[in-house]
Structure formats: C-alpha cells, structure tokens
Symmetry: C2
Subunit: 328 residues, 2 copies
Amino acid sequence: MKTRIGILGYGNLGRGVECAVRQNNDMELVAVFTRRDPASLSILTKSAAVRSVDDAANWKDKIDVMILCGGSATDLPKQTPEYVKCFNVIDSFDTHARIPEHFANVDAAAKEASHIGIISVGWDPGMFSLNRLYANALLPDGKDYTFWGKGVSQGHSDALRRIDGVKNAKQYTIPVDSALEAVRAGSNPELTTREKHTRECFVVLEEGADAAKIEQEIKNMPNYFADYDTTVHFISEEELLTNHSGIPHGGFVLRSGVTGWNSEHKHLIEYQLKLDSNPEFTASVLVAYARAAHRLAQEGQSGCKTVFDIAPAYLSAKSGEELRASML
Amino acid sequence: MKTRIGILGYGNLGRGVECAVRQNNDMELVAVFTRRDPASLSILTKSAAVRSVDDAANWKDKIDVMILCGGSATDLPKQTPEYVKCFNVIDSFDTHARIPEHFANVDAAAKEASHIGIISVGWDPGMFSLNRLYANALLPDGKDYTFWGKGVSQGHSDALRRIDGVKNAKQYTIPVDSALEAVRAGSNPELTTREKHTRECFVVLEEGADAAKIEQEIKNMPNYFADYDTTVHFISEEELLTNHSGIPHGGFVLRSGVTGWNSEHKHLIEYQLKLDSNPEFTASVLVAYARAAHRLAQEGQSGCKTVFDIAPAYLSAKSGEELRASML
C-alpha cells in the first residue's frame, strides 16, 4: 500500500514535490490542489487529479499526507493549522522567528483532529537545524557557524526588482572563503555579517535608467545590502536568462569544539549542501518527512512535530533490519 | 536530577567518557568499573567511585546508564547483553558485519529486563551511519561515498607491530584528494580501494632489523596493505613518540544525487569530521546517547536501539521549546 500524497500549491516547490514523489516507489501522487482554475493547470503526473483548493476537504479519505507548498509570509500561517484538521500535513515554514507561534497553532489543531503536522521541513530550517542540534549535543563546548551559498536569494532578488529602473535581476549570496577556512582551522573567529558573506547582483536595466544611481541605491539598501560587500553587474536580459535562470543554493553548517580534561583536543563537524535546485531539494526533504508523517499517524501519534522530534529511520523506505545491515 | 553515569572499562574510551560527562551539566559520573585491581586505578573525577566489574550489579539502583567501553572483538558481544539485564546501556560496537546478530542478542535481553540498550554508537558506526541514512532518504537516486582519515587506524598499527623486527609503529589512513574532488564534482566515479585511500606507516625497527625486507613485508600484507599505495617511513622511537602519539581521525560521508522530472539537477550532501582525538569524540557521542537512553527508559521504553531509532531531540539537554527557538 503506497503512501498517497496530495500537493497544495503548484509553484516551483509543488512541482519539485511532484518530481520527488516519482523517485520514491512507496509513494504516489493522488492530486494537486490549486487556487488557480484547475482547468488551466497542466501537471506532469498523468495519473493524478488537479482540483481547486476549495475541493480539498472532500479528499480527506483519499490522501494520507498533504504537502503544503505555499509561502511562509501569508499562506502557511493560515493553511497549516487549517488543513491539519483534515489531513496529516507537512510544510516548509521558514520564518525562523515565528516558528514557536506557528508550532503552537499547528499543535493545537493537529491534536484536536488526531493528525500529524510536521512543520519547517527543508534544509534551513530542516537539515541544517538537525546538524546544529546533533553537533551541539556532541560538542557542548564549542561554537556554531552557518554559511549560505553560493546560491540565489529569492528575497534579495525581489528587492532588486522593486527598484525603479530595474527590469529584472538575480542576486547570489556567496560565503567568504577566508572566513570558512578560518572556521575550519579551528580558530573560532568572531565574524561580522560583512566578513561571512558577499552579495553579487546581476541587473537588467529599463531603457534609459541611470546605472550609477541604481548601483548606489542597491549598495546602500538597509538590511538587504548595506551591511555587505556588494558587487553589481549590469547585463542584458538575454544574458540573465541564459546564465542566471537556475535556482541553485546550498551552504555549510560547522561546529568547532573541544574535548579532554583540559580542553586539549579540537574537533570540527562540517555539513555541506551543494544544490542545483533549491526548490527540488527542499521538496525531496518534504517527501521524506511525508513518509514519516504517514507512519507516525499509523502508530496513532498526533500533534505538531519538527525534524528534531522524528527518529531518522522513519524517513527511509527500508525496514529497521535492512537499515542496520546496509547503512549502520 | 542529573543522569547518573557508570563507566565499564577504563582505557582511552573510558577516560574519554569521563571527560565528556564533565562537559554536560545534566550528567554526573557515579562510578568506574574495572577488571584491574580497583586500588591500582587512579581516575580524574574525585567524586566518583572505582570498583571491580564483579561489583557492578550491586550498583543497579545508583546508575541510570552504564556506558560500556570495551572492545568489539570479544568484550561487547558478551558484555552488552549481560549488563543490559541490570542497566540501561550504551556501547560502541563497531564490527559492521556482526551488528544484526549483536542487535538481536541485546534486544532480547533488554526487553526481558525492561531496559534500553543502544548499540553501535560513535562516528562510524554512528554519525556517519546517520548521515548515510538521511542522505539516502533525501536523494533516493544517487551514490554513496565514505572516506576515512586522515587518521590513525588502530588495527593497521597493530598489524605493523606484529611484524618481526618492528619495535613500534603507527599507521595513518589518508583519503585521496583527487578521488574526493571527483565525487564533489558530481561525476559519480567508480572508485577502487586503491583509488580511495593511501596508507602511510611510521615504523621503529628493532636493533639490526632488515628495513628493506620489512618494507616489502608491509607493502605485500594481504587485506591490510596489499590493495593500497603504501608509504613506509623508518623513524626513531623518539620521533614516533614526539610526532605520532596522538589518535586523530575523521573522514567524509558524501552522497551525490539527482532530482527533477528528467534527473536534470545535481545535488551533493557532504558530512565531514576532523577529530584530534578519536576516542574522546566517540566518547562524546556515547554520552549524548546516554542522555537519550535515560529519557527513553523514563518513558517506559525498552529493547535495543541504534542511532537510527532515536529522535534527535533526545540527545540535547535543551527542551523542545528551547530547541525550536534557538536551533530550528
């Protein structure tokens, strides 16, 4: 019996989930739910239905886990507590500061409905969080570092596109090699925002826009660019589409710590992701946790969970015996 | 109420556990059990008792988790099923091929006694296993690579010391940089044993031993060295003690995989450890899982577990709220 998956929201992340489900033989995509006109939506999986979100509740006995692919700003804070009333759900809620509040809302609704809701699944929050937790538990006397990139920041690209005179733009977040090397060398550096990352912008101007003025506006933009060494390249729309249409990302989680009666031994734990497609990798994490959600629900568990609460074996299609024999 | 820890076996690993317990405020070392004469053993923790292993069963109400620090060849296959009758136990059993059998033995004894036994805890098996599992669950279409080193292999150093004419020796396992880079580049190479690691030996000869003959004997030793490019350095005992008395180790777990409807996007997940002290890091992992064992036992769970079966949050002294607010 396969785990029957629903997708709610069919943007980059939803399409990524569709692709990831196909890579897992113990799962099947049953339906995609959209806020658009379902007739206008063409999906890749011929066997799956396309329905309006308004129709979702009618599918509650046909779907084991609904994967919510909306945005964290406005969609998920409402959708996750709402849909967990009908389904076991997974989301990729990534507004770190609002996770405690989101957890509480989802937990209350999930417990009342006897469903599982797993929130903040992806790579940060998600796999990076897990690696922070493990590394802190193993090396209590140490220091954490997270670097992001090289990759496309959607938020920073959006900020560029909101500038008057900018037609299109893409922004890359790039970790500073020398900072990474200092951490790896075990020197436990104190690093400022500027020392950890640089920002590189590829900007297409509107006809007649003032490049010098726009470059200054970018470099001085508070929060987004002012605290960083920022490089701006003005390029043609053609070049942007040819060379910068991907959505790569990744990064590094490091913990440097000491052990020994006199703290005489240094250790470094490093986790690294290098991703050609940020949304497809995030989707792959969502699908692995959907497997866990289905199993937890079958065990009769309910409530809100995060990646911290779920034993690794729940993510794998293999049995405990197979895992011990092949991966331990 | 602190978790009360016992240590059984006071070699490098036992001393490492003693140091790690001191780094965790929610734990205390209660007693060390030894096969030697307890009066001959001087430990670092003034408040802890030193007792004979024969006395251990009398401590069953005074110890929450017994950490078994014996060897995998002969000690642990007997000790873990035996001591789990009296205690919640943790071991670092690392004979990969015999894990299923060890699991079955410990599981039966642990269930009968209503105790928890967590086996094969450390970094390989242990953290490396976890990373293989997570990476496989996230990228089902991909390829795994594990590299060890640069570090001291105890087994290979022992093999050198058994050669006639060798007074002392240390062997380093070294990953081949070009192989690592090929994996990181996503080319999914098929790598032979020789292509993945080299072996470097530092050998102190007995007076009058034949260096050329011993070098050939080393390089042609089946299983240990014949399948590798091996370098042999003959050095003085003084140099060995000065430059090669540490027990560093580490390594890399990588998974390279693809996502997308047409497998068009590549991803790389890499986990790396760089450890000044192999036994102290292994001990740190054991202590984190001792925390988990105590909690699981308090919940009324029993039986044999591995790192695959334990939710990450159990390893941390922080509460779920604290973890979500600070690390997610």
